[in-house]
Assembly symmetry: C2
């Protein structure tokens, strides 16, 4: 009988420590070619709710999958959203609207057994998604930051930033964290709440420059679509940990050696022709990368690093960098397996009738 | 509340006529670039049940997706199977094993609303899969066969062949069907059962040559991995309808003008390195195409044909051909929408709690 696990269940069942342990094993397996990840598939089509040319909307179906022999699992993650482009700050921002009854979103992870193929669990993807993003940066920090790194500068105070803090605190013995984000109330609330969570002092500061001054690790955790962090933020010996592609600018990334990316996979896009007119800067149909001076495909990946195909930090003076450029479905297979294992051990979740989902005809 | 619809429900709710009508609309939308289909994603990894180098097994997770603005739906179809290679007839055959409890398979279609993104239905994929395959060939036959075509020669008597018969009988006023398959008992049983279903005489015959003699439409519906049908099977004016790529040989396909394929999409593969050793003739990890003399990508597609970008039959003497080379996820969005609509109208299926599948955190 498959288990249904909601976000609350996942939050109770998964620690960042466990998440990072699972991801370390996964990246090793990916580096060895045993675990696999398929390219993400993005579909955008016209929605009946499309509004105007100035504020277009689309239906967006995203899927990604992957499998890990070590954990004996495969995962399919998908989300179905109405996305809209809204004016926000300096430009247009793409937003997922909570259009389900009760103002909710739809994103699920299906976990399969690779022993017999059966559906083991259906999970909300929100908490898992946040943990595996933080965990990926955490694993990279563990491999790349100086051994004695203890001071963190964090740019961003959203929900994802909390997982970045949990992860960096797993990777190193962190003593202080400074956090900057544009809205004072947000960074103060974040500092107070997250400090209690990780039992580390978190100090809200008034500028990005102040946040990154005299720290050992710089973390960016924003949804920016325009790079905002330059090389002046990177002092000798620092480790730069970017949650996504468009945070550190080209000059900053060029200061990093080694500079590691998460994956070489890219998304497969399928978009209705009548939406393509919106696919221009400020109206990107999706969060695709800006034209950048960095050749991502030429950079080594986290799996390359973990199996030793590419060198890591070689001196305390080096500036190292990691860009979590795109997630992979295999993360959900590895981390999902740990959640499932814990749920079974603790009797968590609700059972679903498996025979509903199987069939007696050969498909 | 999403509906769960099993194969029995789908069978009751979907006629071949409705299926072909939905596909015709879809192919037009695909031809216009409004509907979209993403490439299929195939993942093969080592399974704990792997046996020996001579009879390897793998876990196989397949996903495909697509969306159609006309129907206001998107679909994600996936299957999770243990596949094994077994000696069969002249070579090795790849089989999906019924490894779920009760000797069952796992394949599902998730149907989403592109108005608000919600999950409308979860359906077993077996009957839908068969109908959309038959329906695709049926739409092509409707567009390409001579208007007065009435005699059919069918090679193959499996489960899929039944849908091919239903489809050809929708496309033209068929008077007689001859069927050949290697095992006499199978073709006789198929002829008796399917004849009752479509109310057309179906005559089992003793050879392929006899089946295709003096007919207007030749249908191949087999799981052959080696082309078996040559140009001698194609008399003047005939329409050739192939259910998959490796049935008619290159010379036979070169006789067809026009020769239309279903799609230019190809699968994305991700395979564990320790399985790749099996990826050779006779042990293909998947049913990938043989090296053929036909450049599939250069051929017009069914969407091209339906919107008039490529000519159809121009005389009664021409030999026309259609190869259903690969399915696309968008078929499930279109045909699934009709099934869902009928289910709602008739009160069929079982309701699932939608709030289980949605979440209040922004993913």
């Amino acid at each position: 009988m498959p288990l249904f696990l909601d976000n609350h269940d996942v939050e109770q069942l998964l620690s960042m420590k466990t998440c990072m342990e699972a991801l370390e094993i996964l990246y090793r397996e990916l580096g060895e070619g045993k675990a696999v990840a398929a390219p993400r598939s993005d579909i955008h089509t016209q929605t009946a709710s499309e509004r105007t040319a100035e504020a277009p909307m689309a239906h967006y179906l995203k899927t990604m999958s992957g499998a890990t022999p070590h954990f004996g699992t495969a995962a399919l993650r998908f989300s179905s959203d109405i996305v809209a482009w809204r004016s926000a700050g300096g430009g247009m921002r793409r937003e997922k609207l909570p259009t389900m009854p009760g103002n909710r979103w739809l994103g699920l992870v299906l976990l399969f057994s690779s022993s017999n193929g059966e559906l083991l669990a259906i999970m909300n993807d929100g908490v898992l998604q946040r943990m595996r993003v933080g965990g990926a940066n955490g694993v990279a920090t563990k491999l790349l930051a100086r051994a004695d790194a203890s001071r963190v500068g964090l740019i961003g105070s959203g929900w994802q930033a909390g997982a970045q803090v949990m992860a960096v605190c797993e990777a190193r013995r962190i003593k202080t964290i400074k956090v900057y984000s544009p809205t004072r109330a947000n960074r103060e609330k974040f500092a107070a709440e997250t400090s209690r969570l990780v039992n580390v002092e978190i100090v809200p500061v008034d500028s990005q420059a102040e946040a990154v001054r005299d720290v050992d690790i710089v973390i960016t955790s924003t949804n920016s679509r325009a790079p905002f962090l330059g090389p002046e933020a990177l002092r000798e010996g620092v480790h730069l940990s970017c949650m996504q592609r468009d945070e550190a600018n080209d000059d900053a990334l060029r200061r990093c050696d080694p500079l590691i990316v998460h994956t070489h996979l890219i998304e497969n896009d399928a978009t209705s022709s009548n939406l393509r007119k919106y696919d221009r800067p400020g109206f990107e149909l999706k969060d695709h990368p800006l034209k950048r001076g960095i050749d991502w495909k030429a950079l080594p990946t986290l799996p390359d690093l973990i199996v030793g195909r590419t060198p890591g930090r070689e001196s305390d003076a080096e500036i190292t960098g990691f860009v979590n450029n795109l997630g992979v479905g295999a993360q959900f297979a590895a981390v999902g397996a740990k959640v499932y294992e814990a749920a079974r051990a603790q009797g968590a979740g609700r059972e679903l009738p498996l025979d509903w989902f199987t069939q007696d005809v050969h498909p």
